[in-house]
Amino acid sequence: MMSSSRSSLAFWLRLVLVAFIFAALEIYGRFYADPAFMSPPSGIFRAFVERILPEPKIIEALFLCVLQIAAAYGLSILFGTLTGLLVGATSFSRSAFFPIVLLLFAIPQVSLLPLVILFFGLGPAAKIAFGFSHGVFPIIMNVVAGMRDVKELHLRAARSMGASRSETIRHVILPHAVPSLFTGLRLGMTMTLLGVILAELYVSTGGVGYYTRLFAENYNPAPLFALIGCLAVIAILFNELVRLAEKRLTPGLRRSAALTNLVKE
């Protein structure tokens, strides 16, 4: 009871805050701001309906953006998880290869963006590659960390019960790494989005990047913000997808929370 009324209060408070921010933006945008740089939320919404939705080229560009993110993320998950499992499998492979991963991760990748474009061209390949190179590292790092932090006590218990090496990996090390894997997947999603969108904005001959530049250079903030809003919505949807997968697939999170509170002695 207590906690449910608290959480609904938190929800309303959050809603009020968001409404307040929108109202403030609306008032500022309408009455005070320079219309060349800023548009009130109502204007952005109108621009979304009138300038973005009816424009098949923009919709196509957004759709392509979604596909690129999905492709980059899929590759990140595949390679990140596999590499993570290989590097994290034994303490030897970890000490041999993990420093390389850390080193690569430490490079500020934006500085390599022109190189990536040069290499992969102006099309989707460059954006997928750049999204992938951002997304893959957090996944590797977290898989390795998850496998490393397995409890000595659990390993000893499994061994004393007669578990083979492969049984230990399957039933102890991997399940232990699942929460950490999802931390990596969430971070990896954020980074993939960053990579793809950075590349999109950098290459302004077509796609979303072209339109953002077009609107910005024409001092046309309403459709610009509407387009950015679309990217934000895409990002939120992708993140929700990962969160849902995490909720379904993390052992121990499957059960209902209500049951948890019932049986504590």
């Binding site: 409890k151 006590l153 659990h154 000893r156 218990a157 499994a158 061994r159 004393s160 019960m161 007669g162 578990a163 049984e167 039933h171 102890v172 399940p175 232990h176 699942v178 052992p251 121990g252 059960r255 049951l259 948890t260 049986v263 504590k264 002695e265």
Partner: protein, 273 residues
């Protein structure tokens, strides 16, 4: 009854290379016979090598020197899950599996046919009064309930020998006592041979047939105390004068050990490691 279930001969264990500054002689020439069906406690200050000795018996590693036989078989650094089960602290339950899945996995690791898993698990859970929690996850239970389940998991594999390493260390005094009583009853019914590590004096006296008091650095057997009291033991045993006498005897033996360990920690030069 006089048959030897566990036979430890001249076992020494050194961690690190002899002569290296961080090398520790954890066990120094330990010999001990444990009879079939006997409940033996290893009692001693922390760091005296109790876990090390238990792990040697359980075959989790090979001792630096000496031999250990279990049920006539040489234990040489590899576990014998058909003969020996371990019970560690409650946190050994795998948190990603529900209680029943924890049992299944233990039975699977041990090589028990799948058709027997659930019957055995439910039987063991019933024995500790936890059968209605089979589908719960470990973190949904209190620490005491978890340890009850963890004990049941060690029992359901039906080995002749049970090795318990401070299983109640994370529990409060009252829960410890209640679980101790449960354990005494369960064991009287099964006739298992048990080696139990603890640093609780009351626990040692209440549960043991014999208490092996160990001294620290290097770990040696200082004395073995007999507790002549039939299992299962009732809480009334704790009220008898003999209980306090035994408890005091253990305390007197341990106090010297703990004092010398603390002195050694303060002044590492005098440590005889």
């Amino acid at each position: 009854m006089s048959e030897s279930a566990i036979s430890i001969r001249n076992v020494s264990q050194r961690y690190g290379d002899a002569g290296a500054p961080d090398s520790v002689l954890a066990l120094d020439d330990i010999s001990l016979e444990v009879r079939k069906g006997e409940f033996v406690c290893l009692l001693g200050p922390s760091g005296c090598g109790k876990s090390t000795l238990l792990n040697v018996i359980g075959g989790l590693f090979k001792p630096t020197s000496g031999m250990c036989h279990v049920a006539g078989r040489l234990v040489d650094g590899s576990p014998h899950p058909d003969k020996i089960a371990f019970v560690f602290q409650e946190s050994t339950l795998f948190p990603w599996y529900s209680i029943i899945e924890n049992f299944r996995i233990a039975l699977k690791f041990q090589g028990i046919p799948q058709s027997e898993w659930d019957d055995r698990a439910m039987q063991a859970l019933k024995a500790v009064g936890m059968s209605s929690f089979a589908s719960h996850y470990p973190d949904q239970l209190s620490v005491g309930m978890r340890q009850r389940v963890n004990m049941a998991r060690g029992i359901c594999v039906e080995t002749d020998i049970l090795l318990m390493d401070e299983p109640f260390a994370a529990l409060d005094e009252q829960t410890r006592m209640v679980l101790g009583e449960d354990l005494s009853q369960l064991l009287a019914a099964t006739g298992k041979t048990i080696v139990f590590v603890t640093h609780s004096l009351a626990e040692a006296v209440f549960l043991s047939d014999r208490i092996v008091v160990m001294s620290a650095r290097p770990g040696k057997i200082k004395t073995i105390i007999d507790v002549n009291e039939a299992h299962p033991r009732s809480p009334d045993f704790m009220l008898e004068p003999r209980f306090s006498e035994l408890r005091n005897e253990c305390y007197a033996l341990l106090r010297d050990e703990i004092r010398s360990t603390m002195a050694a920690q303060r002044d590492p030069q005098s440590a005889g490691a």
